[in-house]
Symmetry: C2
């Protein structure tokens, strides 16, 4: 087994690299280091079965050189494609960011997989592909898929390109659709945002929106556990699975209160108005993981425990 | 009203231009003339309210110049985006064709619409976005969407990009999902194929596959009628509608027999094996137009009548 991880220096990629190395085999990694960081690879880089090349995957010629290099060491048997623009608002302001970093990275990965006869792709899709369907439960067979951010649009475009590739050259695909993932190393997201705000103004936390926005939160450790479970068990040639905490989630108010309790006890909290944080944000959704449960997976953390664990880790991270 | 039609020199585009000109207002057209032809614009070009610029829409700078030129004459109020790679097998052999001609034309259209504040887009999507779901009826809320051709994948990617654009800058979108459209001017497809084969060997028609492949066929005149009906009546901000003949379709055997009867009476027919014509072709599907009917639309032609009318027109076309 030789697995290539794209976006390996990012939040999910670096955690995944650690877990895959524990399982044995080579792990190759690429990243353009725009949002990811070499510091995230500090632990895995000491493993002799890990190898990293900095490359812009939207540049097919450069990406191909990395592929050739890894493939010569040990033929790549599987790609875990985690690379994407993770800054959703930036992609709404400038659609070319998600075109390049979220979609063209997928397109070029598929082209190279076909050329080098790599049979399996596992893809970090997103709950953002569903768009804003209100309180309609989001199952894998929900449609129409009308994303409200370019991030969601280019994740859906990537799913579509992968699906077509499975008809012509690629043997199997795993499409993991997941919502808000939390944990460390944290570079963005509501918990880090609150922790950093409180570091500046320890007596008051200003929250965007009225705090009623409710979402499920999935810890990165659980996400990786679930992805590997699906990779091992799912029978479909194109395996589409929602991954989530399996509960109704927690409100922004809950996260604000937990953060204050942990990071700045006694601070007051000021809420804004409206329940939509920013353009492209889906305010509330019911995320079904029934299909994943039917496959036999059992969640270990719910949203509450995931938030508390991540909060603890992020406060530690920020103290370093 | 000033409407820009992309892919105006193609099969659907040129028919649409004629109909929109009858309704009044300016009609601007762009086409890269790769698959479309100036000959298709012979009738509409004589109308002083029609204007055409040859441009590669995948080249944003060149496309922008055309936009500036049209916009200066009369501000564009609506784009009907029909441009795409219509050669599905070519796009499977080389994914970059659909990336460029089916998807990047959409992406650049949206970028220019935002820049020039054009509020409405009508888009020629496709039944190919559904992939091969067997006999499961295809309704607008069917999922997951797992296309089996790059054409279908890049049509779905286009839907996704349009959906996100409606959240940030564009007011309304109409996504028309339709299957096999027939009529004239015909450049490809099963009827033209059969007519041309019989012109070479008038005593025998060789059919790819066993002839049991069954599909609905929609005449281009009816397609345009239905698209304009939806444009006028649909209440949704993103209006997703299947358009089809509203019946179970006809088999390849029926089309072969009708073509022989019309073009070379007495010729024998030789069938191949299997019911899948080529990679990326969906062999059989049940296409629901219940949503369109609920909006009040009534089909005038079924698949049988559409095939007979198109066959008559194509035989005439080939005699010229």
């Amino acid at each position: 087994m030789s697995i290539l991880i794209t976006g390996v220096a990012g939040f999910i990629g670096c955690n995944l690299a650690g877990t895959l190395l524990e399982r044995g085999g080579y792990v190759f990694g690429v990243d353009n280091l725009c949002r990811g960081s070499l510091a995230n690879l500090y632990d895995v880089e000491r493993n002799p079965r890990f190898s990293f090349i900095e490359v812009d995957m939207a540049d097919k010629t450069a990406y191909r050189r990395a592929f050739v290099d890894f493939h010569a060491r040990d033929p790549i048997t599987e790609v875990w494609h985690m690379a994407a623009n993770s800054d959703i608002p930036a992609g709404i302001a400038d659609a070319s960011i998600d075109l390049r970093d979220t979609f063209m990275t997928t397109f070029n990965t598929l082209e190279l997989m076909r050329e080098f006869k790599v049979p399996v792709i596992a893809f970090a899709s997103s709950s953002a592909i569903y768009g804003d369907l209100g309180k309609r439960p989001l199952t894998e067979d929900t449609g129409p898929l009308l994303p409200i951010s370019n991030y969601g649009a280019m994740k859906l475009a990537s799913e579509a390109a992968i699906s077509a590739a499975v008809e012509s050259g690629i043997a199997r695909a795993y499409l993991f659709r997941f919502p808000n993932v939390i944990g460390i190393p944290s570079t963005h997201g509501v918990i880090l945002d609150f922790v950093r705000k409180l570091a500046v103004t320890p007596d008051n936390l200003v929250v965007l929106g009225d705090g009623t926005q409710q979402k499920g939160y999935l810890h990165v450790v659980e996400l990786i556990d679930a992805m590997l479970f699906i990779r091992d068990k799912a029978p479909e040639r194109i395996a589409v699975y929602n991954i989530g905490p399996g509960d109704d989630g927690v409100t922004v108010r809950f996260i604000a209160e937990e953060t204050v309790r942990k990071a700045a006890p006694g601070a007051s909290i000021t809420f804004g108005s409206g329940n939509k944080g920013w353009v492209g944000d889906v305010p509330q959704f019911v995320y079904s993981v029934d299909k994943l449960r039917a496959l036999g997976y059992r969640n270990q953390l719910g949203s509450v425990e995931a938030v508390r664990l991540a909060l603890h880790q992020i406060v530690e991270q920020e103290r370093r």
